[in-house]
């Protein structure tokens, strides 16, 4: 390999890696939801909608990264095979995904060396929407355990799911009118002091809009 070619490959690799890495970028308000990205990558969306998503990832580094992750996991559709004209494919272009991957993954280890970020005091977190309900208490007695969360506007209904940490379902409640639920002691049969309840609330407003809470942890006393 000539030194010129080697230099060209290094330069191309930098370009390729830069597209994958780019600057830090937060998701935007108009970003497609992850399930829409997944549907686009796997060909479930109509062609016009897929192109709209690709148009977005061309200008949104955050979604471009999410797209690459989906492409590793989802079945990506393929068209009929076409032979590329000779001479059009240069080696640096073939190195795009490989080097981008190396670059991105090496950065992971730089990140791992950083001290861990402070975490919220809830063991099991759902990526909750802004303004989602807060829940309490952190501890309660088995004979009098009342779960409470932030109320929504008048007319709001609530859905509640309660499980154990090993995901045994204790209760699923729909259409609660009040932002609280008194857990019947019989639903806690067999649970001892120190046992943990995990629970999550959906707040359903009068228009049917749903805001999900984080998953809360309540320890039995």
């Amino acid at each position: 390999m000539s030194s010129n070619h080697a230099q060209g490959t290094r330069d191309s690799d930098r370009l390729s890696a830069a597209f994958a890495a780019s600057e830090r970028a937060a998701p935007r308000a108009d970003c497609p939801q992850p399930d829409e990205l997944w549907a686009a990558v796997s060909g479930e969306l109509a062609a016009g909608s897929r192109r709209a998503v690709v148009r977005h990832i061309a200008e949104c580094r955050s979604c471009a990264a999410d797209w690459r992750l989906a492409a590793q996991l989802a079945p990506v559709p393929s068209a009929a095979p076409v032979t590329a004209p000779s001479g059009q494919r240069k080696p640096w272009r073939l190195a795009v995904p490989a080097f981008a991957l190396v670059f991105a993954c090496v950065a992971v280890f730089a990140h791992l060396r950083r001290p861990p970020s402070p975490t919220v005091p809830v063991a099991y977190r759902t990526p909750a929407s802004q303004g989602s309900p807060h829940g309490q208490p952190a501890r309660c007695a088995a004979v009098d355990c009342v779960l409470r969360w932030t109320a929504g506007p008048r007319g709001t209904r609530y859905r509640l799911r309660i499980t154990t940490p090993d995901l045994r379902v204790l209760a699923v409640l729909d259409d609660l009118e009040s932002p609280q639920y008194s857990v019947p002691p019989e639903q806690l049969t067999g649970m001892t002091a120190g046992s943990v309840l995990l629970w999550q609330v959906d707040r359903v407003d009068a228009d049917g809009q749903v805001v999900s809470s984080a998953t809360f942890k309540t320890t039995l006393e």
Binding site: L15, A79, V108, R125, Q187, T215
Partner: protein, 212 residues
């Protein structure tokens, strides 16, 4: 408190099987709608399958969150149960999708809080391939990459729409066949757009003093 329904999974008889999972159902006493939740052994199997899916999706820097994220994913599957989506919910492909959406939501949450850079967002399988002991990253390389990345974004925006779409998928690592299928174009057209689009991109970057 009105209109409630509660299901203690262990108390419900297993009355159907979907996708290999036992599903226990009960009638809503108020509207006779059915609540379907996997229970007992079926539930544990589903949890294990979801945990595997989450592990596969999760980047290494989120590895310590696999249990949390599996729980969140489990909650999502449970929420889907009453919506007539049970068959899909219990397929392997669907579990992977649920795992993906759960993990990406968490990644986005952290990006909003600037806890993580985009370079960190790579799949677990690839990252493990480069494993611990990978060479330390060069900060200058990162800074340089980011600067060039911004210029690439600027140049991409200047391409014609069809060339921009084709080049974007190419830079994302898709094959020609995949790009053609994703864009809904013939392979010949897609190849032509990639070729011309890359030429435009290089020209634009060269004008900015960047020469790949």
């Amino acid at each position: 408190m009105g209109g409630n329904r509660a299901c203690a999974a262990s108390e419900n008889a297993v009355d159907k099987k979907r996708g290999g999972y036992d599903v226990c159902s009960m009638a809503n006493p108020l509207d006779t709608a059915m609540v379907a939740l996997p229970c007992d052994a079926g539930y544990e199997t589903l949890r294990q399958d979801l945990a595997r899916a989450v592990t596969r999706v999760c980047p290494p820097w989120l590895a310590d969150q696999v249990d949390d994220l599996t729980h969140v994913a489990m909650m999502r599957v449970m929420k889907l149960a009453p919506r007539g989506d049970r068959d899909r919910a219990l397929s392997r492909g669907y579990l992977t999708k649920v795992a993906y959406t759960t993990v990406v939501d968490e990644i986005r949450r952290r990006r909003r809080r600037r806890e993580v850079s985009l370079e960190d967002n790579c799949g677990a399988s690839e990252a493990r391939g480069h494993g611990f002991g990978a060479p330390p990253i060069d900060p200058e390389q990162i800074a340089s990459g980011r600067e060039i990345g911004a210029q690439i974004g600027d140049c991409l925006a200047r391409l014609s729409d069809s060339r921009r779409l084709a080049v974007t998928l190419h830079l994302q690592g898709h094959t020609l066949r995949q790009s053609a299928a994703l864009l809904g174009w013939t392979a010949k057209r897609t190849e032509n757009l990639i070729y011309r689009g890359l030429a435009d991109l290089r020209k634009c970057l060269a004008a900015k003093g960047i020469s790949p």
